[in-house]
């Protein structure tokens, strides 16, 4: 069964590149540029296997989104990869407390490495 990923990323261009790579690896991709669109997808009960989350977003930031995701009883254990260009210790600590599978700094990783990480967490 095809695995599904929700990409929450406000930069259309980066979201497009991430989606293209992951689609190529056989995943079904949903994208949301902000929290409103993200929760439309989540609250509709869409089957999701992983969330790729940016932290700096135009409306509600990624930390708040993550907090809300973890309050949803159907989303308690869904793997979340924080994929952001923020890298301060306080940011890492904050998301760790909320429960994430990994924290990757976008500019330090290739999309292939991201796809490898995804495969590691949810398989192909």
């Amino acid at each position: 069964m095809t695995k599904s990923i929700l990409i929450i990323e406000d930069d259309d261009f980066l979201a497009g590149l991430e989606a293209t790579k992951l689609k190529k690896k056989g995943y079904e991709i949903f994208t949301a540029p902000n929290s409103v669109e993200a929760f439309k997808i989540i609250d509709a009960g869409t089957k999701l296997d992983l969330i790729l989350l940016d932290l700096l977003l135009p409306d509600v930031d990624g930390f708040m989104i993550l907090e809300k995701i973890r309050q949803n009883k159907n989303m308690l254990t869904i793997p979340v990869i924080v994929f952001s260009n923020l890298s301060e210790d306080k940011d890492i600590q904050r998301v760790n407390k909320l429960g994430v599978s990994d924290f990757m700094i976008k500019s330090n990783f290739t999309l292939d490495e991201l796809a490898e990480k995804v495969k590691d967490l949810i398989g192909e």
Binding site: L14, S87, E88, S107
Partner: protein, 249 residues
């Protein structure tokens, strides 16, 4: 005397505010630069993988050079961010509390799992058999110490190397050590490695970009905890950094 003191206090406040604004500006700009660099990195990756058609040998070589330049610039931004926050971290008020160093170490290893995975490096944490007493530490500051030491160990290790982290209880202290199988610190570096902005020549050979601020920060933080830091480095043994932190009484 009093008006002079007030004047000076006002100046210090103004300077601190300016410093905070500057630090925030650097942080925001660095984030934006990193976003552009991510795009460049991924586009080059797509070209090099042939996603956009076949490349000539010359095109491929030039794109590889562009990728290398982009990677170097990315490292410069990371170093800039580190330097930007260093004085802040070292001079800030410390909130000492009982801290579980085992949990903090596991947490840090997790934070670097991505980088280690990419370089094929295995991080092995050898936990003591018995329970480790809590240390008296500022969690946020000690995390900076662990992150710097882990980052260095990963950065300067050879691909597919192993990193060993050991916690040991000594006289009223917990000793943390991190051993890598990477570069050996030069004789000159043995006396200067903790100096601000000093970079060992062996480190420069391995990673061209670096600020020389990491180990300086680490030493300052360990000392603020009333601990000590030192290292051993040899041809056949790799490099091990040790630090001690008092247990909480």
């Amino acid at each position: 005397m009093e008006p002079k003191t007030k004047e000076l206090e006002g100046e210090i406040k103004k300077l601190s505010e300016n410093y905070a604004i500057k630090a925030d500006m650097i942080s925001i700009s660095a984030h934006q630069i990193r976003t552009s660099m991510s795009a460049i990195k991924w586009i080059i990756e797509m070209f090099l993988q042939g996603d956009l058609g076949r490349l000539t040998v010359e095109q491929e070589n030039l794109l590889k050079k562009a990728a290398e330049s982009n990677a170097r610039a990315t490292s410069v931004v990371s170093e800039l961010l580190l330097t930007n926050r260093t004085e802040d971290i070292v001079e800030q008020k410390y909130n000492f509390a009982p801290l579980d160093l085992v949990e903090l170490t596991e947490n840090s290893i997790f934070n670097f799992s991505g980088e280690a995975f990419t370089r094929g490096i295995e991080v092995i944490f050898l936990k003591p058999g018995s329970e480790v007493p809590k240390v008296k530490a500022d969690r946020e500051k000690l995390l900076v110490v662990l992150h710097n030491l882990l980052d260095n160990a990963i950065k300067y290790s050879n691909a597919h190397g192993k990193i060993f982290i050991v916690l040991k209880q000594t006289d009223g202290m917990i000793q943390f050590s991190i051993k890598d199988t990477g570069i050996v610190i030069s004789p000159e570096g043995k006396t200067k490695i903790f100096q601000k902005f000093y970079r060992d020549k062996e480190a420069v050979k391995k990673e061209m970009v670096g600020s020389g601020i990491g180990l300086y920060t680490v030493k300052k933080i360990v000392e603020r905890h009333s601990g000590e830091i030192w290292f051993e480095s040899g041809e056949n043994t790799g490099t091990t950094f040790f630090f001690t932190i008092p247990t909480f009484k």
